[in-house]
């Protein structure tokens, strides 16, 4: 459906951390397509201490690898992020990019941090997550068990 084919405009993702120090840059740091690629900034939505610390410090988690062949992360994909000087694995649970009908689109790119063993770092997810992710199997079910709301 050609409902939403509008030109997207270059936009920084600094508003992810509105209450934090906004880095002053006079160039855009995200692509117009709003894809999750290497160097994209992401918002941690679980209640882990490291996620909160990163948001407060004004340097949100940065994607440094996407574990698929395309190199572009979408809902349910696993990625590697750099956060507070550490490397952490994470799952994408909400994206900003335009979605198909019946799939929710969020105002920010949301991730949930996981340990090497596949266990989530936090114990609760603070925002709703897309219902279609409930069809995922394997390690992703551990993420679903800490979710509070599905839409």
């Amino acid at each position: 459906m050609a409902l939403l084919c509008r030109a997207t405009v270059l936009q920084t993702q600094t508003h992810l951390c509105t209450n934090a120090i906004v880095p002053l840059r006079n160039f855009s740091v995200s692509s117009p397509l709003q894809q999750i690629i290497k160097l994209s900034r992401l918002q941690v939505v679980d209640n882990s201490a490291i996620g909160r610390a990163a948001a407060i410090s004004g340097r949100p988690a940065k994607c440094i690898h996407v574990y698929n062949k395309k190199g572009v992360g979408t809902l349910g994909d696993k990625i590697l992020v750099a956060i507070k000087g550490q490397k952490k694995k994470a799952y994408i649970v909400g994206v900003k990019q335009k979605q198909k009908p019946f799939v929710p689109r969020f105002d920010s790119n949301n991730i949930v941090l996981v340990e090497e063993s596949g266990m989530p770092t936090g114990t609760r997810i603070r925002v709703p997550i897309p219902s279609m992710l409930r069809g995922k199997e394997g390690d992703f079910t551990k993420i679903l068990s800490i979710a509070t709301k599905f839409i």
Partner: protein, 293 residues
Amino acid sequence: MNFSLFCSALVVPCRFSNTLATKLVERHRKSKLASHTREEAETKDTTVLTAPRDYKFVYPEFLPDPTWWKRDRIREKLEREDMMRRRSVIEIPEFYVGTVMAVESSDKYAPGKKNRFVGICIQRGGHGLRAGFTLRNVIDGQGVEVQYDLYNPTIIRLEVLKLEKRLDDELLYLRDAPQEYSTVPFDMEPVVLPPGIAVPINTMKVKLGPRPWHERWERQELKGVEDLGLPERFYKRAAEVAKPWQKHDLMRDYRLAINEDETEEIMTDVYGKMQGIETQQKLRRRQGPGPAK
């Protein structure tokens, strides 16, 4: 594809070309089939119902895509029939951009196999069976938007919670506005309007948040937005790239819209069919909700 090449090619079927060979027209005029259809049309005119003037705003999705090379009258008619068939099964209420709506759709992963989303309609568009709309809401401090296909069979129920219009055709600027402008509670009670009243227009002006924004709102003629408070250079540039002559371009209007005669023809067709569907729906409402499917 190169457009001039496309038109000049001799293989273009007459459906896609904007000119017809004189020979073809003459042959059609003399054909027995043509005279037959003319007679039929003349007799039909006496019994025809005329649709109310606002019908094209109430049911905009019945108007086909005005792009001339995409048009196909037979497909449009078949699609309209399919849409009517869907409307006889599910009640698709009148709604506009700015209306607060609830959509219940089937979701194979949900415990009750159903998913309900409530939000404000920020965009409506598409033609025929591919028509759709977008709902926006803020849940747990997170802005969420869901796009829906109006005629998708997985939709169980469409409910209008608060019927109203806004000053703009699209409310995409709510993405850059503070969250309270797009927050709607999920347990909202439907607001009942007195019968026979015109659809109320909400003249609220939205105060946008600071830049950066998703779009350059100062370059669009938005009525539902408060003064943007930008430095002078933004408005200067907006004036430079503005196209104020476009609103006087009659040919452009003609190209971008279905003409009046055809609109009337389509809306009359829709009106005739909607009468039957509305009486059916009234009967069903009086009988009360049936067993859940």
